[in-house]
Structures are given as structure tokens and as C-alpha cells.
Amino acid sequence: MTVKYTKDHEWVRVEGDVGTVGVTDFAQSQLGDVVFVELPEAGRKLEQGKEAAVVESVKAASDVYAPVSGTVLEANQALVDDPAMVNSAAETDGWFFKLTLSDLSQLDALMDEAAYKAFVEESH
């Protein structure tokens, strides 16, 4: 199992060829209280770097981009019912969706935890 991060503050946890995607704890702290999430439907094909979901907080509505390409397996329905989970458990129960990766090599270009931490420190 590996966890990788993007510059747009998404994380993807990969087991086999299945990835679980969410936004980082830093992202949720910047968003403020989340009031709504819109998640992709199962079967939708996502392209790396393109919009996959929407997250709306009291401050702003933001797109969540697919960190890797693939086909959506399932969305986190619990999150739709309780969007506050993005704030309380961004990197665990607050996951957005799972997908089957179409190209595992895309992971190589993403950041690991240490690199992401350094990126956040440096740019904010």
C-alpha cells in the first residue's frame, strides 16, 4: 500500500490497482467548514488532473481533481450525508471515491508524504 499526494492537495491510497482518493488535511484546513460534496458516479472514467468531484465550504466551491486516471468503483455515500467528515477525517473516513487505476506508472510522478509536507511548508 502506498499513499501519494498531488500539488492540488489530493491524496490517493493505492492497494493493488485500486486507489482511494480524498483531499488532504491541509486542504480541509484551508477550505474551512465543508457544507457540500459532489462525487463522481461509479463507472465514470476519470482523467488525471481533470475535475472529478466538487467540494463546497462556507468560503468557496472548489474542484477536486483526479490524482490518477481510472474508472470510478464507488463514491463515499457517507460523505454526501455528512460533508463535515471532510473536516474531521480528511485522510481517513472522509475519502471521496475509489477507482481502478488505468496507469500505475502515473503514481511515480506524485509526491510521497515527506515531499508533500515540504511542498506545503514551502508554498504557504
Binding site: D33, V35, F36, V58, K59, A60, H124
Partner: protein, 521 residues
């Protein structure tokens, strides 16, 4: 809270330990704690003495009322007080300084209102014979002339209802132009990050995909990134100039050339036109189409009440596609062109001709200022914004080096480590008697505070505002975060729970259970 029939709490409200709010009534001086009109209901009370309803046979057939409408019973003075009190809770440009960035909240001269109420303008109907509305048509023709002269453009439609409607009009003209050339491969609209939020929404609503152009470190369009994205799939560029960072896009002519070389059209969002009126003609910059917010640039801001109006000006390149209707000079005076008549007009934006009342106000503003007055207004607007920026940049952090245009942009770096946020600053500013500036927009900087004073404000008024902000900035840095987190203290309501409001909105008043039982009897 229990209330008596005058709508006053009958007991001291809970939580009045606070020295500021601790009155017996919940009122603050003459600022009345006003309940909903439904909460002031007194069954059977009525403001007028109506005759009994005569017994007549229902002609509704099987249709029967299911329940009482539930209108509250009040006497006339109660109703008058209720709405007067509510109106006193409004804040408008007529009440005080309104520095909302990107909104151009300027004074609405009373002369505008007098002119707009002339019966020849206010009582006309859009279906009247044109021979009976020659004066109204002449006014539209004159306004069109002023707008074309100020922008250097070839044609104008007055119909669009507001800025975003104008954007839609412009993008529809761009699409018509491509279609007229048989070019159907253009599916993208480029929109810089510093554009107004309505720009990408407009492009998407017109069926285009949106591609964002990043901003450079100095808050302007990244020219190289723009050039790299231009190609045969790009229909147009939507640019706001001056942009939402309050900066003039100094590469705009190069940008226009690059857009045209790629076969695309150049849309300019004219919402910030107030910064350049009488100084820059958008046509000279290579812009093909632009909307103008009459209700910002030419007074009557939204805080002044009333509708918007978003005329769109077209360069020669797009003029053939201008929507109907428009005014022309006919053989017997002014005429209205209502149909495309085999021409290339893409259709119409509204059922009728646009917001007549706004046309009158805008032309009254233009004529009373004169060309020199309009030029001075834009100069004063820019001067005021730069004065605010210069007086604040040692205690707050300006996002970009000045000078700025009509608005100045700060970010929240000066609050770093204080525990105070942009939102807290805005709330504390309300206690000082100012409407807050635009917050958290534009998105290109962190924790944005965007201030647009307009030419309306005097130096004394700007100084008071600046002094308040300076004092607040010093207080934040002194470590008094608790003061800010408890703000506002002096408003009818304290800090609102925006999260609960968004997650569990209460959109409807429901009568208390007892009242329901009574109604069922």
C-alpha cells in the same frame, strides 16, 4: 423568547450578562429587536374594516381550499413599524461607505431618480406604437452613442439585463461569428484566473469548455501560458481589464494580437470600466466585444436598489451578429429593428428592449457629468484607491506592487501567526461602522481583502476608514485575537453560524404547535 403583542420580549432574554447587550427588552437603544411579522399575529385583528364576505355559490367545482392561507392579523401601525424597522436595518451606499471590491458602489445622484420618474419614461409600454415613444427611443439612441463613443466600438445592444447576461450575449455573438465562417472546431474559451467568477460560468453555460490561464507573480495574465493554449480549438478569450487584482493588464494589445492571430475573438469583461472611462477606449486595445455595467460605472449600484443593466458593445468584427432589437434612424423619426430580416443577428436577449429606467439614469449621469466629468470621475476613483493602498501598505500586506487601478488588493500575510483571519477583520470592521470590503476574492491571493472606494468618498471619509483599519491591524498584531473572534459586538445579531446555516438551513417559518391546534378547530 416569548414576546408580547407589540413584538417585544416579555422577559429579559437569556444570556444578557454581556454588558453591551444587557437590556431588559433586547432592544439596543432605538435599534428594535424585531420579530417576524408572523410572530406578531393576533387572530382576528385587521388593519381595515372589511365587509363580511357574501355567501355565494363556489364556481370552482371540485377545487376546494385545503387549509387557511395563514396571513397574520395586525393593525396598520404595527405593519408600518415592522417594515420601517426592517428598512432601517438595510445598509446601502446612501447610509455610508461601501468599499465592496469589484462592485463599484458609487453614489447615485438624485437627479437620475428625478429623470427616471418622468412619466414619458416611466409610464411607457414596450408594445406602444413607436410614433408614441419617440422620446424614449431618442434617449436610447443617445445612450448608445455615448457608449460607442466612450468605448470606440461600432455597435451596441442595450438589451442585456445585467453583467452576466451581457457576457452571455458576447459569447453568443462569438459563437455566431465562428459558425458563420463554418468553423465548428472551436470548443474552448480561455479565462484567466484573475477574471470575474461569472466569466467561466458564462463560457460553460454557452456550451464551451473552460481552460484557465494562470496569473504571473505580479498579478497579471501569464502571456506565455496564454500563447501556449491558443490554437484552432479556442473560440475566444474572456479577460477582465482592469482585472480583479485591481491591475491594468499592460500586455493587453499583445494579448489581443495573439488571440486574433489564432482566429479567436477577444471578450472583455467591462465590470471594472469605472477605472478607465474617458481615458482608454477598449476598441483601441483590440477588444472585439465587451459588456458595460450601467448599474456600476454609470451609478445606481445594487446597494442603491433597482435592477441591473448590461449593454454590450461590439467592434466591426462582431457587429453583424448584434442581437435585436435596436434603435435606428428611420424616415419618420426613430424606429426599432425587431427582426433579423435575413441578417446575421443571433436572436434576442430579452422579450423587449432592456431596462428603460436604467437607460435614463445612465444618460442623466453622463450628461450631467459631461465628457470631462466622466474622465475626472475615473481619475478620482483610481486616486482614491491608491490613497487607501498607500496609507495601509505599512500595516497590511498589499498583494502586488502599486500603483493600482480603481481597487486595491491586500492578502492575509499581515495576519500570519495572530490567530485573526480575514473574516474576523471584516466582522470587526462592521463594529466600526463600515460595510466590509470584498473578502476571499480574488482567489489568486490568500485571504484576500479587496477595497474599492470609488470616486464618491471624500478624503475625510477615506481617512476615517483607513484609521479604523490601521487600528484593527495593530490590534490584531498585538495578540488580541479574542477581540476579533467575538466581533461583531454591536450588530443586531452577533457572529452568525454560517456552517449551520449552510448545512441545516431553516427556510420557512412554521407556526407554533398551539397555533396550529387552534387553526384546526
Amino acid at each position: 423568547m416569548s414576546m408580547n403583542t407589540q413584538g417585544r420580549p416579555s422577559a429579559i432574554p437569556a444570556g444578557t450578562a454581556d454588558a453591551v447587550t444587557g437590556t431588559y427588552t433586547g432592544n439596543r437603544g432605538l435599534q428594535i429587536e424585531e420579530p417576524l411579522i408572523f410572530e406578531q399575529d393576533s387572530a382576528g385583528r385587521c388593519g381595515v374594516d372589511l365587509p363580511d364576505v357574501p355567501k355565494v355559490a363556489s364556481r370552482l367545482g371540485a377545487v376546494k381550499p385545503r387549509a387557511k392561507v395563514g396571513l397574520p392579523g395586525l393593525a396598520e401601525p404595527q405593519v408600518v413599524r415592522h417594515y420601517t424597522r426592517l428598512s432601517q436595518k438595510n445598509y446601502a451606499i446612501d447610509s455610508g461607505f461601501y468599499p465592496l471590491g469589484s462592485c463599484t458602489m458609487k453614489h447615485n445622484p438624485r437627479l437620475n431618480e428625478k429623470m427616471a420618474r418622468l412619466p414619458g419614461f416611466s409610464d411607457v409600454h414596450p408594445l406602444q406604437p413607436v410614433s408614441t415613444v419617440q422620446g424614449a427611443l431618442e434617449l436610447m439612441d443617445q445612450l448608445a452613442h455615448w457608449l460607442k463613443t466612450l468605448t470606440g466600438m461600432a455597435a451596441v445592444t442595450l438589451a442585456p439585463a445585467a453583467g452576466a447576461h451581457g457576457e452571455m450575449c458576447g459569447i453568443m455573438a462569438i459563437r455566431s461569428a465562428h459558425e458563420a465562417k463554418g468553423d465548428s472546431g472551436r470548443t474552448k474559451i480561455l479565462v484567466p484566473e484573475s477574471a470575474h467568477g461569472t466569466n467561466p460560468a458564462t463560457a460553460a453555460a454557452c456550451g464551451y469548455s473552460v481552460d484557465a490561464i494562470p496569473a504571473t507573480a505580479d498579478g497579471r495574465v501569464d502571456l506565455e501560458a496564454l500563447k501556449a493554449k491558443l490554437g484552432p480549438d479556442v473560440a475566444g478569450l474572456m479577460l477582465t481589464n482592469p482585472n480583479t487584482c485591481g491591475l491594468f493588464e499592460r500586455d493587453i494589445i499583445t494579448i489581443a494580437e495573439a488571440v486574433h492571430a489564432a482566429g479567436a475573438y477577444f471578450y472583455c469583461d467591462g465590470a471594472n470600466f469605472n477605472a478607465i472611462v474617458g481615458r482608454v477606449r477598449p476598441a483601441d486595445l483590440g477588444i472585439d466585444v465587451m459588456h458595460i455595467n450601467l448599474h456600476k460605472t454609470f451609478s445606481t449600484p445594487h446597494g442603491g436598489g433597482g435592477p441591473g443593466s448590461g449593454p454590450v458593445v461590439f467592434a466591426e468584427s462582431l457587429a453583424p451578429f448584434i442581437p435585436v432589437p435596436y434603435v435606428t434612424h428611420g424616415a419618420n423619426g426613430f424606429a426599432l429593428v425587431e427582426n433579423a430580416g435575413g441578417g446575421q443577428a443571433f436572436g434576442r436577449m430579452k422579450a423587449f428592449h432592456g431596462q428603460m429606467g436604467m437607460f435614463v439614469r445612465a444618460l442623466a449621469y453622463m450628461l450631467s457629468h459631461g465628457a470631462d466629468g466622466l474622465r475626472q470621475a475615473s481619475g478620482d476613483a483610481v486616486l482614491n484607491a491608491n490613497y487607501v493602498m498607500a496609507r495601509l501598505e505599512d500595516v497590511m500586506t498589499a498583494s502586488f506592487d502599486g500603483p493600482c487601478m480603481h481597487e486595491c488588493l491586500f492578502d492575509d500575510r499581515f495576519l500570519k501567526g495572530t490567530g485573526v483571519t480575514t473574516l474576523d477583520m471584516a466582522k470587526a470592521l462592521i463594529d466600526e461602522g463600515f460595510h466590509p470590503m470584498t473578502m476571499y476574492f480574488p482567489l489568486v491571493v490568500h485571504g484576500a481583502l479587496l477595497i474599492e472606494p470609488t470616486e464618491t468618498e471624500s478624503k475625510a471619509s477615506l481617512d476615517q476608514f483607513v484609521d479604523a483599519l490601521r487600528a484593527l491591524a495593530e490590534r490584531a498584531k498585538s495578540g488580541d485575537a479574542a477581540y476579533f473572534q467575538a466581533a461583531p459586538r454591536l450588530t443586531p445579531r452577533r457572529r452568525l453560524d454560517e456552517t449551520a446555516a449552510a448545512r441545516k438551513p431553516v427556510l420557512r417559518w412554521t407556526p407554533p404547535v398551539a397555533a396550529e391546534a387552534l387553526a384546526a378547530e
